[in-house]
């Protein structure tokens, strides 16, 4: 819980900067897409998406101050998605490389 008086203004002060950062990242993302580097653009695009997701998760979804159990649930989703990606792409990439 944040310290200080619980007023609407305090809530706005806590959340508005996050929103501003999200907007800035969005603008950066759209701008970066026009850079003349192909791979780098893709990487940047998804890195910025990751950063935005991190902000929303930690602040708006309150993972920052969530219980360990809730964090574990969130991590499980990501871990199993990683299994799915890693093993499937292991096949897809090696087939592409071999062909």
């Amino acid at each position: 819980m944040s310290a200080g008086p619980d007023t609407p203004a305090a809530l706005w002060r806590r959340n508005l900067p996050v929103w501003a950062a999200l907007m800035a990242l969005l603008a950066l993302s759209a701008w970066a897409a026009y850079w003349p580097f192909k791979t780098l653009n893709t990487v940047t695009g998804f890195a910025i998406a990751g950063a935005k997701a991190g902000l929303v998760l930690l602040v708006f979804m309150q993972l920052r101050r969530a219980s360990g159990l809730v964090r574990l649930a969130a991590a499980c989703g990501l871990f199993w998605a990683a299994i799915l990606f890693t093993l499937t792409l292991a096949d897809v990439l090696s087939r592409l490389a071999g062909g």
Binding site: R95, L96, G98, G99
Partner: protein, 355 residues
């Protein structure tokens, strides 16, 4: 009796597979006997009310047992993995001098074409003791090329190439089966692999006639009767290109859609003014009375053989075939390239088409 329990083994791979299979069977049999035996012995000896000795177990024994049999199973399984994997890795590289055979599967037949020119349907002649490499593809759904006597199986995928190889060790005739479920007549998609002595194989090879079939007749008619004058790509007359229309929806003048099936093609030949393709003028003359039914069938077979390419205009070989086989698509047999000009396609045995 034992012979009845094992399938015939007629390839190099078969011996290897059978050894692993027998090894696993022995291990499994012993394990099963151990477990079932222990259960029976414990259940009888410690049946309720029996006088058997029941001293308590020291706690430490439990832990040691657990660790012991965990370690034992891990060791055993890793050994089996190593055994099976090394057999598999040993079979990765295809011998360089292998006879290359293209296999095209479709509902519900096998077409094979050897690099030396022999073409067969539902049959494959190979010489004994020579490595044979199979390059498989499918024209419709997934099929699987399975020869039990060779312990050989590989899926044939549409628009992709897969490959495998074998070396037969015994002459004879062996069953070829489809093992990936592919529709109505999946169970009848059978063939034969005939393994011959090298000299018999050479004799058989030289006796192969040049193939001629319905689709080829149709192809000849297509140019003889002047169809090609308007419908061939690059014609100066504005007429629809017929490559790849088979089975596809055709937009008609007036907003209707027709499906390019046999009935539609027949109608278009006999009554060309009835269903005009959107964007074209009704300039085609009727061929009623000029073509026999058999000739229309041959033309239909030819058009069907041109394939049911997707509605999107696609040049032959595009999209690139993704495969495990080195070399680009055009270097390979034309039979492998979907939508390529047809030289070797007989009428398919009626592919299922979405209603």
């Amino acid at each position: 009796m034992f012979a009845r329990l094992m399938p015939e083994a007629a390839s190099v791979q078969a011996g290897l597979t059978d050894r692993i299979f027998l090894g696993l069977t022995i291990v499994s049999g012993l394990t099963l006997a151990l477990v079932v035996g222990l259960i029976l012995v414990f259940a009888i000896r410690y049946r309720r009310g029996s006088k058997a000795d029941r001293h308590p177990l020291p706690a430490i024994v439990s832990r040691e047992f657990e660790i012991g049999w965990t370690a034992a199973t891990i060791f055993l399984f890793l050994f089996v993995f190593w055994w099976a994997a090394s057999a598999e890795i040993g079979a990765y590289s295809v011998p360089r001098d292998a006879i290359e055979i293209h296999v095209v599967a479709k509902q519900w037949m096998w077409k094979t074409q050897a690099s030396n020119g022999a073409r067969e349907i539902n049959e494959l002649h190979v010489p004994v003791n020579a490595p044979v490499k199979l390059i498989l593809t499918s024209q419709d759904v997934i099929h699987s090329f399975y020869v039990p006597a060779f312990r050989l199986k590989r899926d044939a995928l549409p628009d992709q190439l897969t490959e495998t190889w074998f070396q037969a060790t015994k002459t004879g005739t062996y069953g070829l089966l489809c093992t990936e479920y592919c529709g109505t007549d999946h169970a009848r998609m059978l063939g034969r692999v005939i393994v011959m002595e090298p000299e018999d194989y050479a004799r058989w090879l030289s006796a192969q006639p040049e193939g001629d079939d319905l689709a080829h007749q149709g192809e000849r008619l297509f140019s003889e009767r002047g169809c090609a004058g308007c419908h061939a790509p690059g014609s100066t007359v504005h007429a629809p290109d017929l490559a790849g229309i088979w089975g596809r929806p055709v937009p008609l003048e007036g907003g209707r859609i027709a499906t390019a099936d046999a009935a539609y093609i027949r109608d278009s030949i006999l009554q060309p003014g009835r269903d005009v393709v959107a964007g074209y003028r009704p300039i085609m003359p009727s061929y009623a009375g000029l073509l026999s039914d058999g000739e229309i069938q041959a033309l239909t077979a030819y058009l069907r053989g041109l394939g049911s390419a997707p509605a999107v205009a696609r040049t032959p070989g595009l999209p690139d075939l993704r495969s495990n086989v080195p070399g680009s698509a055009p270097e390979r047999s034309p039979a492998m390239v979907p939508g390529a000009p047809v030289q070797d396609r007989p009428a398919p045995a009626g592919p299922a088409v979405r209603p």
